[in-house]
Point group: C2
Amino acid sequence: MNNIYKTIEGGICASKGYKANGTYCGIKKSANDDPNTPHKNDICLYVSEVPANAAAVYTQNKVKGAPIIVTKANLEKSEGKAIAVIANSKNANTCNADGIEKANKMCLLVSRELGIPQEQVIVASTGVIGQILPIEPIEKAVPILAKGLDHHKNLEAATAIMTTDTVKKEYAVEFDINGITCHLGGMAKGSGMIHPNMATTLNFITSDCAISSEMLQKALSEIVKITYNCLSIDGDQSTNDMVCLMANGMASNEEITCEGDEYEIFKSALYQVMSNLTRMLAKDGEGATKLLECVCSGAKDKETAIAVAKSVVCSSLFKAAMFGEDANWGRVLCAIGYADAEFDINKVDVDLSSAKGIVGVCRNGSGVEFSEDEASKILSCDEINILINLHDGSCDATAWGCDLTYDYVKINGDYRT
Amino acid sequence: MNNIYKTIEGGICASKGYKANGTYCGIKKSANDDPNTPHKNDICLYVSEVPANAAAVYTQNKVKGAPIIVTKANLEKSEGKAIAVIANSKNANTCNADGIEKANKMCLLVSRELGIPQEQVIVASTGVIGQILPIEPIEKAVPILAKGLDHHKNLEAATAIMTTDTVKKEYAVEFDINGITCHLGGMAKGSGMIHPNMATTLNFITSDCAISSEMLQKALSEIVKITYNCLSIDGDQSTNDMVCLMANGMASNEEITCEGDEYEIFKSALYQVMSNLTRMLAKDGEGATKLLECVCSGAKDKETAIAVAKSVVCSSLFKAAMFGEDANWGRVLCAIGYADAEFDINKVDVDLSSAKGIVGVCRNGSGVEFSEDEASKILSCDEINILINLHDGSCDATAWGCDLTYDYVKINGDYRT
């Protein structure tokens, strides 16, 4: 496939026919709130001009946030069609006796305001677990959000879903299907309670490509496996995670309804957007100072490569060593060793690299002499690659994580307060 | 069973017929070493007067330290008999091309010095992975260790196996089998790279009880499952972990060769010692300020109770909240929710308790009103209990862990240097 995926601006509004908006409505009021101080947005709404096919993947945690339950039910009722998405930060609306009722109310408010079926509204919440969600601020916000919907307000929405994130995360690409220009873009929020084996964090993606619900869900499930599910910040699986992908067909390409070249092009575009958002999430992990990107190659199958790469980015000891810029490769070997996969540990090679160079630290499962000065220089960068070769086949996979720092402890020692 | 287990002093020397010794031999020399400064012991030796039955469990990490491989081979060759144990800190002798050769050399040195079969020597190492073990200091140390072996030098040994541990860990009990007094005691080292599903850390236990090799191994495997394997400091499985249990029969009770009352008494004594050492390991977890003890009751089976209790003490987010003394019970629910077990999350109750009281924070899977002041007071203690009831049966289990602190990051950011 020789398609060009051109990176473009616009996030969830990069595709034709999408409008967004975000605002501050005061979901979490503090006694110290100064009415004259501008607040970060805490709620957003975005819509497609026409009903879009929608696909979603959800957290695998048994404790599921009420918005997850409601969104799932809505998409079943609407047979995978959606028009609008409403999302808030500051409160997860999870483990509350009235959670479902409130999540349904949010959909109802949007449905009435926009005159669309309630089951075509997707709802998501992120924030503290187990605190009652105040509905009044949301009731007031929905008309304001709806009135201000605009094709250029993607940033208003992207900032509204941030919790402990320090930067907004958006990515979009333009690509070509049989001479027709399509778009696909998204936004994401992190940045703690993130761990493989789930649809990590809140991620919203939109496209104007025409693709059937079935193929949309298939593409999303395949790409989640090698992007978000290969990300770990702290090993905690959140209760509210969801990736939601909408495709409204407004690019007017012939609808993709089966596997083939067009499906592969769409899937690659999705990979571009989702892998870049994953990287941004890792880099902005709570308290992180370094992005860790672990590539495992030479694996006998994809599953082995994923298991090994994930194991390394999940190791607290290795993450702390990276914070200390210490080339403690024994911890990489240790984490490889407890990965749930079959391979010969005595064939494993490990290299550490960054923009400042590359150093081999382990060959055939044993340490080799290397310059500690050289290694220190390499580890002083803010993006570190850990390259593992199992010498056992031709499959590879990438996993993303970040270092473990004082600030992670600080942020999570007093998150609620 | 109405036996009295009396806590006694003496660690690995609490049982009849055991002698120990420890010393500093300079396994890790630093350029700044002042010859006039006393050093922490880095090597120890202990022996039984007569050949003892020996049982062991080892790390499940694919990367196995050379001492693990050599000890396993020796115990196979000797058909579960052992006389001596040699152990060093400061170097794990793992991921080195000459690791096996050096570990065998350590056994050979002890064998020659004591005039015992080489395969009746157990060897263990703990410390940095992937650094060549210097054998010369050990060659010099073995005769000194052997000469000074003494029934009262358990402390010299217990301090020799410490790495980042801040306190030595010893525990011993006296118990009675059919009117005959028996003893069982041990020592352990922590305190990072500790995670369930393995024989965590280095643990050495001795007894003078007469019990067959087979029943000894059976008791050890059963008790490991509900003690060390329910401990997590940081989720990292070490490469060198081992629990080694010797029983030399010098108490002269009738040998335990099958299940029954005597076996149960022995197993309870083993549980006393191993659960107390586990608690000590958790409390002295790297950088820890608080011991977390999570009891899951009302489970339909033991496995479910273990999975749920472990999941909570493994959660980085919850551990950080405990450091911050924040009653963020949503993180407990979240961790319960991703435990690999089946139960109804909507029936779950959670309480937090300590020496300063108890507070209910969750009923039927939803939050309940509680006094934050009361909760803060309870969480200010250095031993916190998390009490979970699944209301789904009558099985329970305990898991142990510690809070996640700045000091964990500090210690592991520059461990090698």
